[in-house]
Symmetry: C2
Subunit: 136 residues, 2 copies
Amino acid sequence: MDRVKQHLVDHGVKPSIQRMAIMKYLMENRTHPTADMIFNDLYIEIPTLSKTTVYNTLKLLTEHGAVKTIGIDEKNARFDGDMSPHAHFRCKNCGCIYDIPLDQNDKIFIDGIGELTIDEVHLYYKGFCKNCQQNN
Amino acid sequence: MDRVKQHLVDHGVKPSIQRMAIMKYLMENRTHPTADMIFNDLYIEIPTLSKTTVYNTLKLLTEHGAVKTIGIDEKNARFDGDMSPHAHFRCKNCGCIYDIPLDQNDKIFIDGIGELTIDEVHLYYKGFCKNCQQNN
DNA sequence: ATCAAACTTGTAATGATTACAACATAATAA
DNA sequence: TTATTATGTTGTAATCATTACAAGTTTGAT
């Protein structure tokens, strides 16, 4: 059974053509795409694809923990197929997004705080990338 | 000169009735309100207030570092008048937002990573608050 | 008081996301 | 297989937070 299908099954998501295509896209493209980018790229291979399906599927995959929805971009949601703990950086000028590895010393990824249960941790850095330094 | 006006001046923002009212609101209400909540509350005291002004002002204050715009809520932007370093928690059931103090050991608030300049750090926790534990 | 710059306001777009109802596909039972 | 039901997909039409824009108002300098 292939890697993508297995990932879906492992997270309790019944595989379908569309779900596998979207999951595969996110596993192969580490670009933190928007729903629109995913739709536009997959539309070429799957011309019957609907944008609603992309949104529905991304929500489903997020709920099942198979995908991370990232809120670093105030305009649109970004999606990440890499579930390993890491932070994100976004350039306020060009909008590029990078993964940032976590320092071992940081005790950021925890199970709870007081009486709060935590099941998502988001660490976002915003600033200027190498190319955009001088422009601002 | 009063605390609110001083805060604006310190951040290079020329004070006006509206700007002071919004800044004062955020300094007194640590509720991480939306633009709409701010508008609705201030509209009572300032009936001529426009929602556009609230949005304009919040953007201006954020750009000048007098206010933090928080992206923890995927529906609307939240605003915080407390500029000291701290994290945020949001309950996925009831939507309540709490401030979370940072562990001293965490080296989260840094000036740069490699060739990236950082000027905003956002640490968000999502999960379930005390009251919403059992419901999910 | 005059004039220009800076602020504020209301209305009209914009645009990402969701609701919904029809259609299609997959799973199950007989 | 066929009938039946549940689940998944699609397209169109809302929704609704935020922004664009143009007109009106206030402020500050001369």
